[in-house]
Symmetry: C2
Subunit: 218 residues, 2 copies
């Protein structure tokens, strides 16, 4: 029984790593597609977003079956319940990569109104956060998880800067309004990705320490 459970846990771990690789690709492709106006890459990011959804369902089923059939305790239970919470945030990152790519596709024939100075910085910072959170999970690396959590403020500040840039551009020319609204959405999606990466990192901390948001749970 124990061996079977260990095998199942290992498979769960592998599936989480696979899902992590998928969201890393989805967000990486979505960022690059936006900045390089690459239609094919934007479509690929949407495709990857769909695969992330499938993976979430698969892992969710595995977790619920594990809880049901194997009735894990202590550390094992913590691992399964962490997985169950983590995949929600991972799936949302996939959704946001899709949302960004849909805007990219809509803007594909337009010239950007903005030099996109702060948006690439957001793309870069959030991609690093996602990769960091996944790496922290894989390596059970508490310091790495905490470093991800510390990055969230930088992304929030960048969002405010993007917003200010766009307001300036609208003031300069109201014809910029339509694209400005698309770009503020893009910035908001990146900000959310930062939030979700932070949540994932917090779940990694929980899975290692049993503490979530400075509180001991189990």
């Amino acid at each position: 029984m124990r061996n079977r459970f260990d095998q199942e846990l290992e498979q769960l771990n592998n599936e989480l790593i696979e899902m992590g690789a998928l969201i890393e690709r989805a967000i990486g492709d979505a960022s690059r597609a936006l900045l390089e106006k690459d239609l094919e890459l934007a479509k690929k990011a949407i495709e990857h977003g769909g695969l992330v959804d499938d993976k979430e369902k698969q892992i969710e089923r595995r977790c619920l079956r594990l809880l049901l059939q194997q009735q894990p305790v202590a550390t094992d239970l913590r691992m399964v319940s962490t997985a169950l919470k983590m995949i929600t945030d991972m799936e949302r990152i996939g959704d946001q990569a899709e949302d960004i790519s849909e805007i990219t596709i809509r803007l594909i024939d337009e010239q950007y109104i903005d030099s996109l100075q702060h948006i690439p910085a957001m793309a870069h910072a959030t991609t690093r956060m996602v990769t960091g959170a996944i790496d922290a999970f894989v390596a059970r690396d508490l310091d790495r998880a905490r470093a991800v959590i510390a990055c969230d403020d930088i992304v929030d500040d960048l969002f405010v800067q993007v917003k200010d840039d766009l307001i300036r551009l609208i003031r300069a020319d109201s014809a910029n309004g339509e694209q400005a609204i698309d770009l503020i959405m893009v910035a908001k999606y990146f900000e959310r990705i930062g939030d979700h990466a932070t949540n994932i990192a917090e779940w990694v901390v929980f899975s290692i320490t049993g503490e979530h948001g400075n509180e001991r749970i189990i």
Copy 2:
């Protein structure tokens, strides 16, 4: 043992109902504060959002302890794992009510650029969705849960209309740009609330039928 577990489940149920009441109030207050420019109510919505966070932590701890100490099976397990997923969406609704209210407070001394025709419709529709999802959970009402899920498209369509309204307003006067960007954020938050209410309703369906997104899980 069984009796103790039933008691614990009932407490969990009550806590979910309390959390539901809190998010209903948070979103109701946030909507009314926005439309009526009511500073005190906006502050109250933010306060309620904070209480929602506390409640989430409390329920999360209870669920994890229940899984650990009581090792539920079948329907009971489904109930606990549903709760664990539902509270994530409930907590996000609280966050979004806070986000909306922060913008309300920022705009409190400004005249709205828009007659806010479609935003109140979004506020109304999403508040109904949240209430519907909570009611469906309390009454274990499958039809009600499915009705909530069906409403999501209406909210998505309203978001597109708000966006079009705001682009028109920016074109008419670029000085509208700053507020337009705040209002598109408000609309986006309402759209997200609709998404989260849909997720909650899907979890209610799962807790009753064992099916999530047309797939049988356990």
